[in-house]
Symmetry: C2
Subunit: 331 residues, 2 copies
């Protein structure tokens, strides 16, 4: 509650001098400097970042919008971004959009009013128009995980196409021909790209996937469970011997369905996931999956953001991060 004014009074100098000492922005004589620090300590002075932000027009606060921070994938991104922010003395405001463009829009408004220096988002909206408000005001931002077609902005993505391709190749190499795919919401690019990778691999192998082999999920475990039950209900001539789920949560849901049906993984049904969340290694059997550098994506988003805050002019860059097969015992 002590202010610069109080410190100045106690040290017997002007407010400006105290500010110069604190920020090291101008040389100050040693005696005065000592008196100021003494006063700062005695009064337990802490600068008021609101006042500073108001004056400097820089708040050292970033915003992060994700669909759901309780989803381990987004949690990891958040963690990466938070770590980087802390290292650079930025604070991070967390927002959950629930995948709802309207809620996302409200959050964008709040973050703008909060005068954040930059925003990282896993966008819920499908079109760049949703982010016009940011461009209009020249607020630095970076989109993570999901691509917005035609958007002029920094962008951090995993190589989802390659991931879908690798996962499917892996199953093909194991001798599978009837390979099913549990997709995510199809309007999201990560899911769509993974499915494209799947299709490419199948095509290269000369296999035309049956329509019933492609089943839409919503990235949650429950939907993987239902999709797998559907596959298992197919007549045996059409029933897949392997499933590629577009994320681990759905793969784990599928696992449960397979277990309940009394079938064994991988002997009866092989299973590949996507994301390599922590628990993928701990389910039984441990899940073969495609690892994304999730934490790194969060960090990189932070780096780009801070870089852009410091130098707005540069052209936007797209970062496509490599994915990696993690072979465990579900295949």
């Amino acid at each position: 509650m002590a202010t610069l004014r109080d410190v100045a009074r106690r040290a017997g100098v002007s407010i400006a001098t105290v500010s110069y000492v604190l920020n090291g922005t101008r040389p100050v004589s040693p005696e005065v400097e000592a008196r100021v620090w003494e006063a700062v300590a005695a009064l337990r002075y802490r600068p008021n970042r609101l006042a500073r932000g108001l004056r400097r027009k820089r708040t050292h606060v970033l915003g992060l919008i994700v669909p759901d921070n309780a989803n381990p994938f987004f949690a990891e991104i958040a963690r990466g971004l938070e770590d980087l922010s802390f290292a650079h003395d930025y604070s991070l405001i967390l927002c959950n959009s629930d995948g709802d463009p309207v809620k996302e829009q409200r959050y964008l408004g709040v973050l703008i009013e909060q005068q954040v220096d930059g925003i990282a988002l896993v966008s819920a909206g499908a079109t760049p128009a949703h982010l016009a408000i940011l461009q209009e005001r020249g607020i630095p931002f970076v989109v993570v995980d999901r691509d917005l077609p035609g958007l002029e902005a920094d962008c951090v993505l995993a190589d989802n196409f390659q991931g879908g391709y690798l996962a499917t190749r892996h199953l093909l190499d194991r001798g599978h021909r009837r390979i099913a795919c549990i997709t995510g919401p199809s309007d999201l690019t990560p899911s769509a790209d993974r499915v494209r990778g799947y299709q490419k691999a199948m095509e290269e192998a000369g296999i035309e996937p049956l329509e019933v082999w492609i089943r839409r999920g919503d990235f949650r475990a429950e939907s993987g469970y239902h999709a797998a039950r559907f596959f298992l209900s197919l007549p045996s001539s059409m029933r897949p011997t392997a499933i590629f789920a577009c994320n681990d949560l759905m793969a784990i849901g599928a696992m449960r369905a397979v277990g309940e049906a009394g079938l064994r993984i991988p002997q009866d049904i092989a299973l590949v996931g996507f994301d390599d969340i922590v628990l993928a290694a701990y389910v039984i059997p441990p899940l073969t999956t495609v690892a994304q550098p999730t934490y790194e994506m969060g960090r990189l988003a932070g780096e780009l953001l801070i870089r852009r805050i410091q130098a707005r002019g540069r052209p936007p860059a797209r970062y496509l991060l490599p994915v990696r097969m993690v072979v465990r015992h579900s295949t």
Copy 2:
């Protein structure tokens, strides 16, 4: 970038009038009000919350400090708090302490400088002294999940003692006598309370647990894995037939060790966890566990915080939330 001043100019009124219209703090004639709203819309005006906060001494920002937001348990708490904050038009700053009291202290400083209206924390420090800085400045705060002995503050806890007791009773009821326990870091009250519940149940059953049956973990899957391997390496006369792990992550780690040893759950070894994280239902076999109302704890923390911001005087309250056995197939 438009300010009150710009809006006022365009509407042909004074700054104060615009403020009154925006906040509805004083009656304004219909014509003037209309002109103001027109100007607000035309200029895409958005209030600057820094300036407002500086003046009002209320920022409508809360802080949350957890050890690690990527841990599903804390992620859920964060989600609960964030939802409540959003509903009350508060923003939330997320901080990860990594369980390090020094880092926690730095974050407290940052949040104070940021002038947050209140702080929720899962404290890393073991003594109330760590939070003196908050009390000194009269900043509302609530501690979640972990109790600080002798701390005068609002506090949201799960009934960990009861949880440990129930879990152990459950195993005893299933006929187990040699029951091991994987604890968390012992200086944390949730872990200690759960262990006390375990001991109470054992004592009531007239069983004196061997020392080797109590093994310390760190709440991460890896440590559960190692603890279980240790149990399995005991001579068969001492080897436990059931394990109570103080959280799900460690239970899942233990599962893996059991699986690797070629033993079956629950036939050879029964397993109970704690927390009921989402994935507990999806591991194979599904994990019997003690459910905490995690999301609710986050929400309640937010409610208490906001209530205390509005009325500082009241005496602090402790909320002990009930836990619930969730019986699945690991026992």
